[in-house]
Structures are given as C-alpha cells and as structure tokens.
Amino acid sequence: MKINIPTPLRAYTGGEQTVIVPGATVGEALEHLVGTYPDLRQNLYTPEGKLRSFVNLYLNDDDIRYLPQKEATAVAADDELTIIPSIAGGC
C-alpha cells in the first residue's frame, strides 16, 4: 500500500513524499515503514510503543481511530494511508 509522508517526517524517509510498503493490515504496513526507516519510530510512537496523540492516521478518507478494527484493519495494495500531524494552538 501507499503511505503519504508529511513534510516534517520526510527527513527520515530520505525526502520521499510517498512510500510503498507491503502488509495485510494498517499495523503491518506501519511496522514495515518504521522497519525500513527506523528514525521514524520515535516520531510516530511514544517510548511505550503507543501512537503519539498528535499523529493522525487516515486510511483513504477514514480516521483509523474510528474504524472498528483500528490498526488491525485489513488493507489492499491500492489503499492509501496518510500520516498527518495535528495543527492547533492559540494565545
């Protein structure tokens, strides 16, 4: 499947905007991604291995947090996973 890499994380994928990875589920695809680009792990996951709260993952147009099987959701080769950090703030 294809994974879209946001601007701040491309420093860890050799500048690649998109990466093609194998995997039968979202979790497997992500594991392959951080296996290929190990420096991504600390930016995506906490030291305890949980996905960082500000990292949003969208399978095509769906937030995986709201998919019944979440990271165990099955994926096909033509699916797209988008990593998109949150943007917020205020005075």
Binding site: N4, P6, A11, Q42, C91
Partner: protein, 156 residues
C-alpha cells in the same frame, strides 16, 4: 528566512481581521530550500475550536489532508501555518508550542488589536523530535510585485 509575496502576506493578515474576535487559521503552501521556506500561496482553513475560538484554533485533519492533496497537484508542499492572536501578542504561547508538531515548518502569528491586524511574526519549528523541538524567530522577507510582474500575470 520566510519568503512571502505582499499579496499573500496581506491576505493572511486580513483573514485575522475578518474572524476577529476569533482566531483565524490557514496553511502556507510553497517550497522549502536551504534559504528558508518560500510561500507560493495561502489556503484558509476553518477553526474547529468553536468552544473557545477567541483564544484557540485547530484545523481538522480531514481539511489538512485535502489541502495537502491540493498542494501536491500544484507541485507544492505544506511549508507552514498561520493563525491570529486577537488582542494578544504576536508571540508563540505555551499552547502554540505544545501543539506544534510540524518540524521545519513556519508558524506565522498575527496580532489583531480591536479588529485591526498589527504585528505579524514568524517562528520556525526546529529540532528532530518532540523532546528537543523549539521555536526560533524567523525573519520574513516580503516581496512586493512590480507592475511589470502583475502585467505578466494579466492582473494589471
């Protein structure tokens, strides 16, 4: 350095005036280079923090993905974000820092006093991860188009 055209600079500042007393927010599309971030266009975004829009902003990830797709079609990247501080300094706050995760991107903040945009500052988020990130002051270079440039674009 953040490079931006005068028209884009004024567009994002006037957005803050329009949404006053609420915060506005938007995205800077352009290219990154060793010389800094070059803004090619700005995209307005909705502030989803309707519960306290006077001092908070949030861009829905779905909207961010749509803007990112739009950028790719134009051959551009997300190089920064902007928002306003109604009646507050044009300086990043603790909330801005805690919620900043786009390392390498520019964060523009415009102070809007009583509905009028005053100071605009840019801060570059640097570092390698959440543990060592920091904001540094980023000079802004504003390019004023010449009449010849406008004529070339068919705008004048």
């Amino acid at each position: 350095m953040l490079h931006i055209k005068f028209t884009d600079y004024e567009t994002l500042r006037s957005h803050g005036e329009e949404t006053y007393p609420h915060e506005c927010c938007g995205v800077l599309l352009g290219t990154a280079s060793p010389d800094g971030n070059q803004v090619h266009t700005t995209v307005r975004a909705g502030n989803t923090r309707t519960d306290r829009a006077h001092d908070r902003y949030n861009i829905a990830p779905e909207e961010l993905i749509r803007i990112q797709r739009q950028a790719r079609k134009l051959g551009l990247d997300i190089v920064g974000f902007y928002h306003s501080h109604p009646d507050c300094p044009a300086q990043w706050s603790k909330t801005d820092f805690d919620e900043a995760h786009w390392i390498g991107c520019s964060y523009l903040i415009t102070r809007v006093d009583h509905g009028r945009a005053t100071i605009t500052n840019s801060f570059l988020l640097t570092g390698s991860d959440e543990e060592d990130k920091k904001f540094i002051d980023q000079p802004i270079e504003i390019a004023v188009s010449s009449i010849e440039d406008e004529q070339e674009k068919g705008l004048a």
